[in-house]
């Protein structure tokens, strides 16, 4: 609270001549600029040193890194003193791929690689063309073939046996891939001049955004069978996927609506003057500009979704978090849940952090330094 750097006195600071040792100068400027600041710095340094010391002691010095297969005695001996990272090499196949047949686990692994490649390519500005849509369709089809199999000599694996990271990526990616066009339609509907369509869209968005995702997932797992004709039932994973798509559609619609509002009126008028039809006007003129405006908030919405897919744990679908939680049911390893959660958190963190960095790099040119 002592001082807020928002009054950037950078020009003045730059003109001030640097005296003496640059390290001392840096320290004085950044840590000890005033007495309260100095006290805060010392306090923080002490706390930080204590924190790092105890973490190093627990997480590195006293940690158990490897044990013989299915033998947690070394870990139990070190319990309370050091971390049991040995649980990660012991359980990582299950955490990452769930109960997918062990010998076939190269298929979900390859799917994960494909997903990551797809995300990477989608971030390249040079590739933001129509071909990207075909690339997405192709890649998602290929991933489906890999996961299900049943063709090209791959054995069939039913989706009850899927689990871990691929399920998380599937729920997030398909949720967005289908939720995005849905969101565009709803956003257009909400800005439509036709009262019936507008009120339906508003109702949809407000209903979905007003309730927690958990209740939508309950609805998908409990009420969906009631909604369908007798004897017709679809798989649990697909039901959760539908709930996530409906949820994503409502949130994406609001982001896209923001973009539509940011397109200047002159663009609409010019498109009308050219005599374009409603759909051609939006497809060729309005939407490309609208979506470009909202790419950073879209990426932030993607991050939120990626994290929200973990909620399927509550209805018992084997995503990454559920496999992590299940891995520690094994009595021999029961006490080492903290280590497993840290491992799972690291995986989530890598994906979300990469996306948030990307979102920031997109925003950077807009805010001149």
């Amino acid at each position: 609270m002592t001082a807020i750097t928002d009054i950037p006195d950078a020009p003045r600071a730059a003109r001030r001549p640097q005296l003496g040792n640059p390290v001392l100068h840096w320290l004085r400027k950044n840590l000890f600029s005033s007495i309260p600041n100095g006290i805060i710095s010392v306090l923080l340094l002490v706390l930080l040193a204590k924190g790092i010391f105890s973490f190093v002691q627990w997480g590195i010095a006293n940690a158990v890194w490897l044990t013989p297969t299915n033998d947690s005695s070394a870990c139990r001996a070190a319990r309370g003193l050091g971390a049991c990272w040995a649980i990660v090499p012991e359980k990582y196949r299950f955490i990452l791929f769930g109960t997918y047949p062990f010998d076939e686990q190269w298929r979900p692994a390859l799917s994960v690689v494909l997903f990551i490649a797809l995300y990477y390519l989608s971030t390249r500005r040079a590739l933001w063309r129509r071909e990207l849509v075909y690339l997405w369709i192709g890649a998602l089809a290929l991933i489906s073939v890999l996961m299900w199999g049943g063709v090209l000599g791959l054995s069939f694996v039913s989706q009850d046996r899927w689990g871990g990271l691929p399920v998380t990526l599937i729920l997030a990616t398909f949720g967005l891939a289908v939720g995005f066009p849905l969101g565009i339609l709803i956003a257009l509907g909400r800005r439509s001049k036709l009262p019936a369509i507008r009120s339906l869209s508003v109702l949809y968005v407000e209903l979905i955004r007003g309730v927690p995702l958990v209740s939508l997932l309950f609805m998908a797992s409990v009420m969906f069978p009631l909604f369908m004709p007798a004897g017709f039932n679809i798989d649990k994973l697909l039901r959760a996927q539908i709930a996530i798509i409906l949820f994503a559609g409502a949130y994406l619609a609001e982001v896209i609506r923001g973009g539509l509002q940011a397109v200047p009126r002159g663009q609409y008028e010019a498109a009308d003057a050219l005599g374009l039809s409603y759909w051609r006007k939006h497809r060729l003129i309005i939407l490309p500009q609208a979506i470009r405006h909202v790419i950073p908030p879209l990426v932030n919405t993607f991050i939120a979704f990626f994290k929200d897919t973990s909620l399927v744990l509550i209805i018992g679908i084997f995503d990454l978090l559920t496999t992590a939680k299940t891995a520690i049911i094994d009595p021999a390893w029961q006490q080492f849940s903290v280590e497993v959660y840290i491992f799972a958190a690291a995986i989530y963190f890598v994906f979300c952090f990469a996306m948030s960095r990307y979102s920031r790099s997109l925003e950077a040119p807009a805010t001149p330094k």
Partner: protein, 393 residues
């Protein structure tokens, strides 16, 4: 679908134009499809329910619930009705949401300001906090905190960070003042005093606007909010003795107990949401143009006065709308309680659903509760936002 601009009035006024016809066609089509889908789902549901012999309606709310609720604010026993169980669940949700919102706002503001601190170490640490907590799913954090709670020592070996506060696998135990009707009366007087003071201050400001003479408000504040309630307390002889928790056998007696489930949920919600609030506060403060700081400095205003009267009112305009959605998020996220067994309204609805099979009613109740909470928060925040909005010409 229709043209974006009104067309020049045509002479054939009672005949629909081409665009109106198209618009009508689309509306009829969309509404028709929506109705057909809903009718299809509805008829399936009715058939399925009758096949399973489940009667629809809210009559089940009057039946005995028979479910245990471990940790509740309101008195409850398993013999009570489902309706009361729901009310207890709503109270539990509000208990975690309201306290969570207050704590997350305080923590988030502190961290947001720290991110702008001139102290390099402080601003870096705040940035690490925000970046880490934002990029890990809340449910994972919640499970993590819950596991840590369970790994705490047993009640006999409880940690005592400060005398009178115990942290053990029974939760957090704090010293508390027992609250009954006499204490509530005194508190009510203080709240009433606040309201009277608020009106009185408005009158004072209006007076100052008229004749320009400053009138200090603090004596009346002291009188209305402190002296009068204190007098009431003395007259009624209300006791304010603090009850210190004590270890008896295997558990604690006295004091206020926050169950591990509640405590884990509160920590997870507060830390997670505070990371988002910190970013909102930071961008709000940064949105105040530099000229405003310079101008305030040039006027020679004291720093606290400058922050309070110049910077904060402008920053708040940017801060309040996104803050509203964070409050809504926190409230909705409190439904994750079901994963660790804290009995909020979603968890109780879920149990009800499993016991009675009344899926539609249970989910309709969840939705009604959350829509009501969401609308109330939006309503309050919109009112507040309108109050602090810049009055433009």
């Amino acid at each position: 679908m229709t043209a974006d601009h009104p067309r020049p009035p045509s002479r054939r006024r009672f005949v629909l134009g081409r665009n109106q016809l198209k618009g009508l066609f689309w509306q009829v089509l969309v509404v028709g499809i929506a109705t057909a889908v809903i009718a299809f789902l509805w008829s399936n549901t009715v058939t399925n329910l009758s096949a399973r012999r489940i009667t629809t309606g809210f009559a089940f709310l009057g039946r005995e619930a028979g479910m245990p609720i471990a940790d509740s604010l309101l008195a409850y026993n398993p013999g009570d009705t489902y309706l009361w169980a729901f009310v207890v669940g709503v109270a539990n949700t509000l208990r975690v949401a309201v306290i969570g919102i207050v704590l997350a706002t305080i923590l988030g503001t502190l961290i947001g300001i720290s991110r702008l601190s001139a102290n390099w170490l402080l601003s870096r640490l705040a940035a690490v906090y925000v970046e880490t907590l934002r990029d890990i799913p809340l449910l994972l954090q919640l499970l993590f905190w819950y596991v840590l709670m369970q790994a705490l020592p047993a009640a006999r070996a409880a940690w005592r960070p400060v005398e009178g506060i115990f942290l053990s696998n029974r939760g957090l135990i704090l010293p508390a003042i027992p609250f009954g009707p006499p204490q509530l009366t005194v508190l009510g007087t203080a709240v009433l005093g606040c309201a009277v003071f608020f009106l009185f201050r408005r009158w004072l400001v209006a007076q100052q606007m008229r004749d320009g003479k400053p009138r200090p408000a603090w004596p009346s504040a002291l009188g209305l909010i402190v002296v009068v309630p204190a007098a009431v307390s003395l007259v009624l002889g209300v006791s304010w003795t603090v009850e210190w928790p004590q270890l008896r056998g295997f558990n604690f007696v006295g004091g206020l107990t926050l169950a591990p489930e509640y405590f884990a949920l509160l920590i997870a919600l507060v830390t997670y949401t505070s990371a988002f609030i910190a970013e909102i506060v930071r961008s709000g403060i940064q949105s105040v143009p530099r000229g405003q700081w310079d101008a305030a400095n040039a006027l020679g205003l004291r720093r606290s006065f400058m922050l309070r009267q110049i910077i904060l009112p402008q920053a708040l305009r940017v801060i309040v709308p996104p803050m509203t959605s964070q409050y809504l998020n926190l409230t909705k996220n409190s439904s994750l309680a079901v994963a660790i067994g804290y009995q909020d309204v979603v968890s109780i609805a879920n149990t009800t659903l499993n016991q009675t099979g009344q899926a539609i009613e249970a989910i309709a109740l969840i939705m009604a509760v959350f829509l009501t909470i969401s609308l109330s928060i939006s309503f309050f925040m919109n009112w507040y936002n309108a109050r602090i909005a810049l009055v433009e010409r």
